[in-house]
Amino acid sequence: MNYVFPNELHVTWTVMIVLYPYITGLVAGAFIVSSLYHVFGQKELKPIARFSLASAFVFLLFATLPLLIHLGHPERAFNMMITPHFTSAMAGFGYIYSSYMILVALEIWFVMRGDFIARARERGPVAWFCRALILFNTDDTPATREADHRIVKFLAGLGIPLACTLHGYVGFLFGSIKANPWWATPLMFVIFIFSAIVSGISVLIFHYFVVSRINGWKIDFECVKSLGRYLWGFMMVAVALELMELLSLAYEQTEATDVLGHLIRTKLFVSYVILQFMLCSLVPFVLLGITALFKLRERTAYLLIWLSSCLLLLQVLLMRWNVVIGGQLVSKSMRGFTDYFPGIWEKEGLITAGVIFTLPFVLLYVFHRLVSLFPDAEKLPSIKPGA
């Protein structure tokens, strides 16, 4: 055993392609949280609604960066939109991504128009920028706000299927590759959508805690508790779907079963079995279950939910790694496995990945300097009686 086709010694899709579905997932998840407030009226999510929309936007801005770095000819990237080849699953990406980008940008514009108008009335270059942003229309009355609100609700509603399309589509990119037994499953669609929501909620909880801690803001307990419950529910579905896939694979006993079983037991044992399932799925499942089912002290509940969000952020990253890299470790000769670990300084290495992942947070900070993403943070009483 261990024969790989000679061209398979080079792993084509690197850590950049791990990062691409990860960031896209954060977008979809964060957007859905904002829509839970704007469309489904989950009022307890109000403190984080703006922040989630802004997070979706900044992550969306950087979602294609790892792809561009990975492409052999990034200067030809627009060929996908100019000369699309519609038999390809990848050909639709540019259109789906652009549509979603327009929708999120529009929704942000309408949500924050009032704040932009307030900044536009100040002096200096930022005010000029805001004036241009609001198209020099400073009309801000209850009637315009009502109109904005209606448009936001419509866009947020339209955004939910589009967010699912965007991320389900990313799953389809992998799930439709029949040559790769680790990827080729129709469940990949759904697994990607649910894992996206999990990562999106997790990043919001993680970031909300960190930002509140740094700024000394009170954390809204109802909001966090609600996010924790949603996280628990979505993570259960995401993990259950992955386990179902695994069960089918093991039970069907096809040609792929042996080779994929070997992959799980050897190459992916640490990243898949130990880290993704044992540490980053089972532990948050228990912790979030405790916070949802038992009455805990606020401080304890915060800690457990924050810890779970950290672990689930890592879980989804590991899931992307295990799918993207794991699938390429199996040789199409079905007789062996190759190896991959990214270099630190190379073009598609760990430093680049770290910088790409940091950039959205930097932009989010700049965004917050422009318009407050937590306008009610200081004013809100954190604990409601009887909560």
């Binding site: 024969y3 790989v4 086709f5 000679p6 061209n7 398979e8 010694l9 080079h10 084509t12 899709w13 792809l67 990975h70 492409l71 052999g72 000819h73 990034p74 030809r76 990237a77 060929n79 996908m80 000369t83 699309p84 080849h85 038999t87 390809s88 699953a89 990848m90 050909a91 990406f93 990119l173 439709s176 590759i177 029949k178 040559a179 790769n180 390429q328 040789s331 199409k332 000769s333 079905m334 007789r335």
Partner: protein, 249 residues
Amino acid sequence: MPCDDRISRRQMLKRLAAGAPVALLVTVFPKLAFGVDRKPGEKRPLYAYAVDVSRCIGCCACMRACRSENDVPAGYFRTWVERFRVRGNGEVQVDVAATDDFVFKATPAEDVVKAFFVPKLCNHCEKSVCSQVCPVGASYESPEGVVLVDKKHCVGCGYCVQACPYGTRFIDPVSHTAGKCTLCYHRITRGELPACVLACPKGARMFGDLHDPKSHLSIFLRQRRYRVLKPEMGTHPKCYYTDLDLEVI
């Protein structure tokens, strides 16, 4: 001077509406609009490939010829030869001469009951999944049935590399585009043989026109039993193998 033959807005819109289907036909279905650029009665060749596994001696002359003919970068392969050694206990050992000198390592193998060599290359599938998944259409099938890559259009995304069930594609580290066997398209369109076929001292590799019943390939395929690799993928490969063991994937 007033112009009398000006057209009204309504007329203009009508003419545009009438012209739209024609424009659509020309741009979306050019073959329907213009027909196929072929002389009446002329039959375009359909090139294919065959490997007589029982004839291959594993000399790897084909690999050397391919590398020098096509400037294939070191460490990447448009074609290769696999060595299969089956032991008495049923264990199968497979390796490839993927070194610079293209010579199989003299590794000890005890209790070998069966051994053979299998040349591999792009299968130039009739339903090539690599062409299907290319997001920009840079990977395509030539009118002669050869799967090619337009290097000036390829974005180097690597999706075709993932989609090919046979592992025959790679991202060329020099051009940063997809690389693969072209059946030496620059040679075959001049009536010459692909370099690997020409270099094979035992005639294990064969190339020819499936549309020509008198071609060497057509006669060979009529006389021998053959099969293709991974038929379950539904790609309909045009690389046919005779005397192929079940162990070969």
